[in-house]
Subunit: 247 residues, 3 copies
Amino acid sequence: MMKAYSLFLAMLAASATPAVGAESTAPLGAAPNLDDDVKNVVFAELWERPELTRRDRSLVTITAEIAQGHLESLPFQFALALENGVEPQELSGAVTHIAYYSGVSAAVEAEAVLARVFAQRGIKTADLKVVEAKPAPDAEAAKAQREVVLSMVGDVSPGLAHFSNTILNGDLWLREDLSPRDRSLVTVSALITQGNVEQIPVHVNKGIGNGLTRAEIGEVITQLAFYAGWPRAFSAAAVVKEMDLPE
Amino acid sequence: MMKAYSLFLAMLAASATPAVGAESTAPLGAAPNLDDDVKNVVFAELWERPELTRRDRSLVTITAEIAQGHLESLPFQFALALENGVEPQELSGAVTHIAYYSGVSAAVEAEAVLARVFAQRGIKTADLKVVEAKPAPDAEAAKAQREVVLSMVGDVSPGLAHFSNTILNGDLWLREDLSPRDRSLVTVSALITQGNVEQIPVHVNKGIGNGLTRAEIGEVITQLAFYAGWPRAFSAAAVVKEMDLPE
Amino acid sequence: MMKAYSLFLAMLAASATPAVGAESTAPLGAAPNLDDDVKNVVFAELWERPELTRRDRSLVTITAEIAQGHLESLPFQFALALENGVEPQELSGAVTHIAYYSGVSAAVEAEAVLARVFAQRGIKTADLKVVEAKPAPDAEAAKAQREVVLSMVGDVSPGLAHFSNTILNGDLWLREDLSPRDRSLVTVSALITQGNVEQIPVHVNKGIGNGLTRAEIGEVITQLAFYAGWPRAFSAAAVVKEMDLPE
C-alpha cells in the first residue's frame, strides 16, 4: 500500500519539516525504528491484509484517532479515508456518530479538522446534507429496547434514559448517511479504543446482526492493536473470546 | 440557552473560519447533523434541564474536557463557566483539584488556556490567591482516613500513601477556594470521564456527605454522556445503581 | 531539583508568556495553588525521592505524557529526560516501544515533538540507528510464549496473534537500544496510565524478571499518581497488592 505511505510522507513533510530543521531528510527521523515499522509493518502489511477492506480499516482508524484526541494524525487519516472510498457524507455521519460514543467535544474538534481536509480537497460542505432518521424497521423491537434502557438506568439517571431513547436509539442509529453495519463498526471500534469492555458484547452482537462477521471483528481488533495499543486489543480479544461467536 | 450557543458560535468563528475557508458560512459545516445536534440537543435541551444548575454543569464539563485533554474546546468552556457564575478563583481551584485526579500535565496545559481566557476577559491573575487549607473539621475522622490509606496502599506504594495523606487528604480537600461539595462534583466527574469505576462508590458516598443529591449525581451522568461519551455514562450508571442510594 | 524546575519555567515562559499577556509575572498564574504545588511538591519533593532514579522517573513520565497525548508538555519532559541521563537513542527506543502499547499515532505525534527537541539541542537524527533485534536469549521459552499467545487470541483474532509473535515478542522486545528492564518500566507505566489493570500482573512479573524491584514498582505508582492521576495509581496499587510480590 505504498500509495497510502506516500500520502503519509507527503502530509508529514508538509507539517513537520520546518520544525525538524533542514538537516533532516527522513520523514521524522527521531525514532528510526518507528519510521521503519510504520513503513514496513503498518503500511506494507497491516493495511494490506485481506481480512478487512481498506475502507473499513479507515472507519476503524478514524474512530480510534477521534476517541484518543489525535488531532495531528487526523488530517492524514481523513484524507486516506477519502482515498479508500469512504464518501464525504459517510465521514460526516461517522464523526457525528462518534460524538455520542466518545464525547461531543472530541467530535467537534475532529469536525474542524475534517472541514479543513474537505476545503483542501475541494469538497464543498454546502453539498452535505442534514440527514433525517428513518422509522425504526421493527417498532416492537424498538419499544422493547426503550423498556430495557428504562429498566437499566431510568431510576439512576432519568436523563441518560431519556436521551438514550430519543437521540441515540430513536434517531442517530436510524439516520441514512451511514449504514447500520458501519455504525456498528464505528461503535465497536470506539468501545475497544476506550477500554469499555463492559459494553463490547452487546455491540458485537448488534454488529453481527447488522452484517459484520466474526472474522471482521477479529481484524478490527488487529487494526486497533496498532492504532489504540496492544493492551486494548488484548482486553477486547479476551471479551470476544468469551462470547463464543458462530463461525 | 441561546446565549451559550451564540458564545459557542462566536468562539468557533474566531478559531475555525480561516481554516475552513471562505465558502463556508456554517459554524463548522463538515458534519451538519452534528452541528444540528449541538444546537438543538446539547445547548437547547441538555444545558437547560433543571436537574442540575448551569454552574454545576460547567464544573462537570470543564473536568471532562481537562481529563480528556480537549484543549481546543477549553477556551469556550472556561468562558461559559464564567458566564454561568463560576468565580475565577473557583476555576483556579478546580483546575488545581483536577491535577490530582487527571494528572499534573493535563491541568498545567489547561491552566495555560485559562490564563489566556482570563487575559481576554480582563481578569487579572494578580488578584488570584494562593489559598491555605483549613484544619480538618474532624481530627479523629482525618486520622482514621490516614490509617485506611496506609492499610490500603502503604505497603505496596509508600510514596502513594505519603502523598495521599499529606497533599491530597491533608491539604487539597481542605483548601477554601472550592467547597467540599464542588470538589466532590469535580472528582466524581473525573472518575466517570476516565472510566475509573472502582473508585466511583467511595467518591459518590463522599459527595452525598458533602451535600450532593442522588438526583444531581444522576444528572452528572447525563451531562457526561454527552461530554465523555455514552459508554462511560452507562458504566457509571451501572455502578451507582448497585449503590442503592437513598432518595 | 531546582534545575528541573528552572528548565520547566524557562520552557513555559518560551511558550506561554505571549499568550498570557504582559501583566503576568508568574509562570502561568491562572492557578496559583497549582503553580505552588508543581514547584514545592512535584519538583522539590517527588522528583527528589531516592526510591527511583531521576532517569527512571523520566522514562515513566514520558510514557505517561505520550499515552495521554500531552503534546504540550512533551518538549519539557523530553528535554528533562536528556538532562537526567536518558540517551537520545534510548529516547528513540522508548518512543518506538510506546507505539505498541499506546498506539502508533500517539508515538508518531510524540516523535515529531522529539525531532524538534533534538534539533534545538543539536542532536543530529542522522546519528540515530535503526536497531536490529538480538536472537531471543532462550529459544524454548520464546516458542512457549508464542504458543501461549496463539492459545489466548489466535482463534478470536489471528492477526493479533500473528503480530504479537512477530513484531512484538519476536522483534521489539529484543532490540538493543533499550534494555529489557527499561522496556518493562515503560510498559508497566503505559498500562498503569491507561488503566489496563488486567495486564498489569503479567508485565509486573516480567519486569521483576528483567531486574525491576518491588520498591521501584511502588515508586512508579507514586510518580504516576502525579502524572496520570490518583485514580489510576490506586487501581494499580490494588492490583499489585494482590500479587504479593517478594520483598
